[in-house]
Symmetry: C2
Subunit: 413 residues, 2 copies
Amino acid sequence: MDTNHTPPVSLGAKAGKETVRRHNLSLVLRAVRDEGEATRAGIASRVGLTRAAVSSLVEQLIGSGFLSESGKTFSGQAGRPGTVLKMARTGPAGIGVEINIDYVSVCVVDLSGTDRVRLTEHIDNRGAPPAEVLARGARIAARTLESAAEQDLAPVGAELALPGLVSAGTVRQAPNLGWNRVPAEEHFARALARLRPGAGPLPVSSENEANLAALAELWFGGLGSPRTFLYLTGEIGVGGALVIDGELLRGAHGFAGEIGHVVVDPDGPLCRCGARGCLEQYAGQSALLRAAGMDPDAGVPGVTELARRARGGDATALEAVGRAGRMLGRVVSGAVNLFDPDAVVLGGIYRTLMPWLSPSVDRELTARVVSGLWPAGSGRLRASSSAGDAARGAAALVVRAVLADPSAYVSRA
Amino acid sequence: MDTNHTPPVSLGAKAGKETVRRHNLSLVLRAVRDEGEATRAGIASRVGLTRAAVSSLVEQLIGSGFLSESGKTFSGQAGRPGTVLKMARTGPAGIGVEINIDYVSVCVVDLSGTDRVRLTEHIDNRGAPPAEVLARGARIAARTLESAAEQDLAPVGAELALPGLVSAGTVRQAPNLGWNRVPAEEHFARALARLRPGAGPLPVSSENEANLAALAELWFGGLGSPRTFLYLTGEIGVGGALVIDGELLRGAHGFAGEIGHVVVDPDGPLCRCGARGCLEQYAGQSALLRAAGMDPDAGVPGVTELARRARGGDATALEAVGRAGRMLGRVVSGAVNLFDPDAVVLGGIYRTLMPWLSPSVDRELTARVVSGLWPAGSGRLRASSSAGDAARGAAALVVRAVLADPSAYVSRA
């Protein structure tokens, strides 16, 4: 990815040396990211380069706006005190744009992974033509970019988080939006370019929203987060993702994780995907609200009301959530038998409903996972962290590309 | 792994140079394995080492019995003709020991991956104490080792293929054998040592049998074999394995792939695992035979008879196989939605029943996999290759360890 702000260096003939320097720039930058604050001497000892080599790399990273000096000094070991370095709070950043069924959420994440700007609009995206929905997303992104610019943050790429099967820039299918073969990146990029006539084009890529939410959980879920887990997110649809030893499982065609369309009852209600009795028809937001005798289109406020009723002991609400939990538990136990994860993480509306949902999910897991591998009260069923969501995961994915190869974003000057 | 035949070299102080040489020995050996036949010059150009370096490595590999000269010469390029090298048909090998519910199958595979000795006994292993079953396996293995010795093959390690949850040398649970926490490697190794008082101990390791059958499919399934696939094997139980981009998915605890215990009907028949309505209760060998009105314990001859009846158009047989196919299809479609494989491969008794089983499995997949990702007649549902089975996969796993580090098996002489 490159932008008008930060054209990539051309490697030319000295590729051998340049390759090593590119690698080492990334190494140093990631060392500071991992430490939070670091001195040149500390980095040298951590990454195994000489102090002189690290100093040269650090100068380039400061000059290009990746690192800043905090003003503090630190004298830990022998030798003169070192100036403390940290990730720049300005300059290169990532923007994530989650276009979901009943909201759009955009966020800008800086190089340290901190969420710096967030703009969310609750808006029903069903019914409108795909190009219009993506233009709406671009308008919200453009406003977010204005806020970012005021903080001197310059995203180098945008990542779209989309509720469907995403491959090669195109949404193959997003049943709940009614999208089929929508060239999402192209629509979005064109609309955004029209809104920012002076600016150069921002590279756009895209990914399934549950996959990005799972990555956000992996990266920002805090210490002790599992590295191998099944992630489910309850929205109007039910999204899923599998993270194996810190890596997202994409599958042979990029479509892995579609747990919302695992069958619960082959003779069950017709699903938007065309099959019958999918999990989504039992544990999706609309199905849950309907089962509780509420308006299935009541959205997030409806889920909040459902949680309020459950907390108050309303029998209909408790039965609706308990039933959804049983169906979730059946499907999740199958997935656990297949994948043997460390943990199952529930996000989206399931976070809100966790106190009433998790007992029945856990009960099914204990009954159905083979060989007592899911003992009661294992604590391996957990709510997602509040830090993780698809928009942040998307923005962080852009930032990780920068950290993996800062040279590609370094100005030549 | 080491044996009395081939003690590993000690690395000592010159670890740097030795490490490079170890790596290069493996590189050269695997180049010959991949090519089948190769000259020193051909290897040098393939692996990017000098002709002199390759010659030195080849001499060591010949001297240690890994490579042999075929007698043929080959003059492809400029320069004098080169002697053709191939993998030795004698010397280091692997032995795989599959202890399944109603049979034990042992095979020895040579360095080229060829199945050289096979001994299978159809015998019911249910009911006997685990130590006795493993001693039985050791007796069959000892006989196989005698045959191997007559062919001058000397297995350097044994791999057990076991129908249950295997971790750290222990079978945590094998429901159809009634095993719980059985130290299988220890029992087997002790029994084998007693049978071969003169010989040094043979290192023993172990793995789930469906995992090893899937690896055999990956390695020996022939050109065009999928690299990302779901493997199911129908036996008395239903085993499963997931291969992702050529690597076995083991899961967080080594227990991934237990598709036989994914729930079909939460109120279905009680399974040996303790849960209700597992796939095994609908598509396992006994369930299938029972549904066809046959003796559920009729074993492989029973399955052959079932296939004969189905071929003859027997309505009860066809309905039994069709129903098992529908249940398989439901569970497999869920797994495909989760994991997005290139192919689904059916082994074990499903190979025999494929003509009557696959239409109903395929129909469920087409109906239930999201977004038309499993179009009718895709050809992505296939029978396993006849070349692949758990015993051969087990033996080949030992051989791969040799190929990965031949130095560890090279005699010092």
